[in-house]
Symmetry: C2
């Protein structure tokens, strides 16, 4: 709502760019086809024609993050990484994405181009292609700048990964320090000009997951800790697998910047969103090997084993504090940070 | 922007319904899972696991129609029919949809339920299932009520249907009278209280396409005439297949209500959007048979052969008027009707 819009032709998106006629064709060809260039997209049929083999994972996400640009990324990077990661977390190779834009009339064409180019860069990290798309333009005031939906399909290489597959004795591993995406959005939104190193963890997780699969790591469950953070993932797992999970607070990696912002705003790091950090449950005896792979291929020096699966408090997550006490780590509730992704 | 919002708890969507925690889980289970009930969706993994066979069509569409409710449907019916139809137009059986909601804070829960139930009804018409989804809530003023994205996959039964496959001598057939969706939205938006029979043509086209395929009709090209209407489809075909198309204005079916609204507002029926009417190109000798199938299974008494493919004006569409003159039918341009779908 606060964009400095320039309505000169060619400089801003107009309603006619969503009309299904000449102007829309021009926008699609000059911006989207140019960035996402591939023969399936260029065929311009009503739907992309794909030759999929084996079992396929299918997922969707709409992105409404505010602001559109933040330390470590923008809505485009998020829209690609988010859907690619949902596929990767199922042990699926991210193959094809759809991409649908809802654009507010007057949105600057330069920003649209920049966002789309970021998407193309992020796609290359996992050889994923945008093969179909859609463009809608709504009148000024009917949307806040830009929303992006991406849906994705990919071939499942590891069929047993499941929210229902945690087993008593499994180690719980986190791939990096938590809460950075949530904290980066909070910082951008509040206009904080800290001399801060804090950037969102937003990243494409397929390269590191591909290595874990190639090394035959026996992954029981895997999930990126997005909205609701670490707390939401662990609670969903405990409930879906009907087991208990105990994690040690002192072992959960959190950067000083995220700790500081949490203290300032009254958040808990384990409730904050991540966009390139995942949680994994796997047999204890292979956890150390997995940790080494993650550190090596994921640029995640902070990766750590933070707890284990047990059968003493079924459906619940217990957090052991550094002072020896324990408490339940609940599913987050209330507003937290709206429009985090 | 003009909804009468009631912010009492349970009666309106709150920001916390998009937060990834307890409230979101409740909304998803009580509204979406209940309406779209199926085991793949209920598995609650990061992505749906599908067993697809053969060649797959993949498509996406975001729906931003205003108003959300109109004569003949609502945004939910449109979101299902639109994506199902994109698959059907490729000769693909619509199998699985994703469904992603962007909801404005304060949106009435009763309207959300009504829209989702309409979606479920429309899905049953083609045995299509919603297998994955996403819910985002944005603060009041950051979206206009509700936007829905649906993406879809389906098995291609007719592999040769293509925008590039029109051949000289082909007949051009339209499945019903044109322009009704555009006209119905215009009527709803202008608050016209005509004693009118006019309703949107919004409909799931798979049942009739399934019959055409079952009867081995040799379909060369097929497309639903959505944004940009008949004029956009014919121009895209002429350009992509490098042929000419000639249509006779007197043979194009248009209802009296649509004609009247077009005269009043200065539109052309062939530029107006349809959401359940398609254009087909096929060999002249099977066109009459196809017409009979469409009339029988599509409830489309108005279906008609309106023209043919030729090689005299490559890349162009010629409209023959009832007075014997001819003119080029161009791709629509300018604003037409924003937020038609």
């Amino acid at each position: 709502m606060s964009h400095a819009f320039d309505n000169k032709p060619e400089k801003a998106v107009q309603l006619s760019h969503g009309g299904g006629g000449k102007e829309m064709n021009k926008l699609i060809k000059e911006i989207f086809f140019k960035a996402f260039n591939n023969p399936i997209l260029a065929s311009e049929e009503d739907a992309a024609v794909l030759h999929l083999e084996g079992t396929t994972a299918f997922t969707t996400d709409s992105f409404t993050v505010a602001p559109l640009f933040f330390a470590g990324g923008n809505i485009g990077k998020l829209a690609v990484a988010g859907t690619v990661n949902d596929l990767a977390m199922m042990g699926a190779e991210p193959q094809y994405l759809s991409c649908s834009f809802i654009i507010e009339e007057g949105f600057p064409m330069t920003q649209l181009k920049q966002i789309v180019e970021t998407m193309a860069d992020e796609l290359h990290k996992s050889s994923t292609r945008v093969v179909c798309g859609d463009t809608k333009v709504v009148p000024k005031g009917c949307a806040d700048g830009l929303f992006i939906n991406t849906s994705g399909v990919g071939r499942i290489l590891c069929p047993n990964i499941s929210v229902k597959n945690l087993q008593v004795g499994d180690a719980i591993l986190v791939s990096g320090d938590i809460g950075r995406h949530g904290a980066a959005i909070l910082m951008a939104r509040e206009g904080l000009n800290l001399e801060s190193e804090l950037v969102s963890d937003c990243a494409n997780l397929w390269p590191v997951v591909e290595q874990l699969i190639a090394c035959n790591i026996d992954i029981h469950a895997m999930r990126d800790a997005t909205r609701g953070g670490l707390a939401a993932v662990l609670n969903e797992w405990a409930s879906a697998s009907n087991i208990g999970i105990t994690v040690e607070e002192s072992k959960i990696p959190v950067s000083d910047e995220v700790k500081g912002l949490c203290e300032l705003y009254g958040f808990e790091p384990h409730d904050l969103a991540n966009e390139g950090t995942f949680i994994m449950a796997l047999p204890l005896d292979v956890a150390q090997g997995a940790l080494e792979i993650i550190k090596r291929y994921g640029n995640c020096e902070q990766a750590a084993i933070i707890g284990q699966v047990d059968d003493t408090h079924t459906g619940k997550v217990v957090l052991k504090t550094p002072w020896g006490s324990s408490r339940y780590l609940d599913l987050p509730h209330g507003e937290l940070l709206p429009r985090i992704c």
